[in-house]
């Protein structure tokens, strides 16, 4: 009988894994992607939408158009996984059986966990949020802007720094800079978790008069006073508040008892197998691995998992291992960017921000739909 491979989630990781698997296995396996919407979102684009540099239309595609014809696509909400019977039950009542399961379920944001966030805080972690923020910025005529994170881990660690630098750039261009105060609230004593990147970014922030509020872990928002307070007991006043909402794993992980307290799946750092169930693999945001939650992580992990499962189906010993590879761009405004490339053993050594990296990021944004989901980039 053909091996049944089920992939939960049609984002970058799930789509790429599916396409690589049918490429390797042809008709020796049935590969099914289960996705609640059937629409694929290019999430790195939200940042550009919020800043008015792109429109939302560019960010979504019909998942079917990105999948190889041999991949089955099922539009269902996965409600519960039974790792012993090896089945996934859908909210509609149906179910699907698997020999290998790939959890590519991503993460979800839970702004409701921060008192006062909803209504008072803006965000760019959803298309709706990005569009709303874009309109707020359009109406903005000067004032105090605070940017911060409300929980860790969150997707795309450089995003708050990027947003801060790009927003300051925008305010300058619009002639609003001298009427505005821009402050980045950081959970640490530096702008960014990666020290080497902080060393590049902080002088830029200083030069542009962007304030850095250190050890400010956002606790709650008080919309009536226009104040955000930190766990450390400090307060900061805002006219425009932009926060990265807290993130959690998907509800199907919790409902199936497969995750930790944050809903993240306990995952082997090299084989990407579930720590308890060897036929379950996890890629992308859904893992509990202490690395960046980003599209590139999902991309690199998808190839590894697809290769390992393909080997197993063919009766060979799997040899591909994940070594923690992550690659991301960090926009620094003024049409410049830098890049962070690292793995478990090698911390990033980012180059000086330059126009070329900004151009490379834009090239990537444009090429995404035609290259990444199809596996045309290793």
């Amino acid at each position: 009988m053909d091996a049944r491979i089920v992939i939960l989630g049609g984002g970058v990781g799930g789509t790429l894994a599916a396409n690589v698997l049918v490429g390797r296995l042809g008709h020796a396996a049935t590969v099914t992607v289960v996705d609640p919407t059937g629409m694929h979102a290019y999430q790195p684009g939200f940042l550009y939408v919020a800043l008015g540099q792109a429109n939302g239309r560019w960010l979504g595609r019909d998942e079917r158009t990105l999948l190889d014809k041999k991949v089955d696509l099922v539009i269902e909400i996965a409600e519960r996984i039974d790792p012993v019977a090896r089945t996934v039950r859908f909210a509609s009542g149906g179910s699907i059986a698997y020999d290998y399961l790939i959890l590519a379920t991503g993460s979800r944001t839970v702004p409701e966990q921060v008192p006062g966030f909803i209504g008072a805080g803006q965000e760019f972690y959803s298309l709706t949020g990005a569009l709303r923020l874009r309109e707020e910025l359009r109406r903005f005529k000067g004032g105090r802007i605070l940017i911060g994170v409300t929980g860790i881990p969150y997707k795309c660690p450089p995003a708050p720094v990027e947003f801060t630098l790009m927003l300051e750039d925008q305010l300058r261009r619009r002639g609003l800079r001298d009427r505005s105060e821009v402050t980045l609230l950081s959970p640490l004593n530096r702008a960014f978790t990666v020290e080497a990147a902080s060393k590049l970014v902080q002088p830029i922030m200083e030069k542009r008069g962007i304030k850095l509020s250190t050890f400010f872990n956002v606790d709650a928002v008080d919309p009536t006073r226009g104040i955000v307070s930190s766990i450390e007991g400090e307060e900061a006043a805002y006219d425009l508040l932009v926060l990265v909402p807290p993130h959690r794993g998907q509800t199907v992980i919790d409902a199936s008892g497969l995750g930790d307290a944050g809903g993240w799946v306990p995952t082997d750092r090299n084989t990407l197998q579930h720590k308890q169930y060897e036929r379950i693999y996890t890629i992308g945001d859904a893992t509990d691995l202490p690395i960046s939650k980003s599209g590139s992580t999902a991309h690199f992990q998808a190839s590894i998992v697809a290769s390992r499962i393909a080997s197993l189906v063919k009766g060979q010993a799997p040899s591909a291992t994940y070594e923690g590879r992550v690659m991301c761009f960090l926009e620094t405004g003024d049409r410049r960017a830098t890049t962070l490339r690292f793995d478990y053993a090698h911390p990033p050594v980012p180059p000086r921000p330059a126009v070329i990296w900004h151009a490379a990021k834009w090239m990537f944004n444009r090429m995404y739909w035609h290259t990444i989901p199809q596996g045309r980039v290793p």
């Binding site: 860790i152 959970p187 640490l188 978790t193 250190t214 050890f215 450390e232 202490p290």
Partner: protein, 79 residues
């Protein structure tokens, strides 16, 4: 009434990467009363510098900072 043995709160952040140890510590410390003592165990080497800086910035005293075989132990007293 005096306490004969000072209660030491415990926090295990082993395996967590920067900035998780600081964030978890800040959260845990918030629940304590002024003067309470907490021991934090971490494995992220970056946490040595981070805890020293955090203590200085927040006024929570860092009573001890030790490293044995890649395990870092911090003892903090809440301001």
């Amino acid at each position: 009434m005096t306490r004969l043995i000072e209660e030491v709160h415990q926090l295990d952040v082993k395996g967590l990467q920067c900035p998780m140890p600081i964030v978890k510590t800040a959260k845990a410390m918030k629940e304590l009363a002024s003067g309470d003592v907490m021991q934090v165990i971490a494995t992220d080497p970056g946490s040595v510098k981070d805890f020293a800086a955090w203590s200085k910035a927040t006024g929570n005293e860092l009573l001890e900072s030790t490293a044995i075989d890649g395990v870092f132990r911090f003892v903090l007293r809440k301001r």
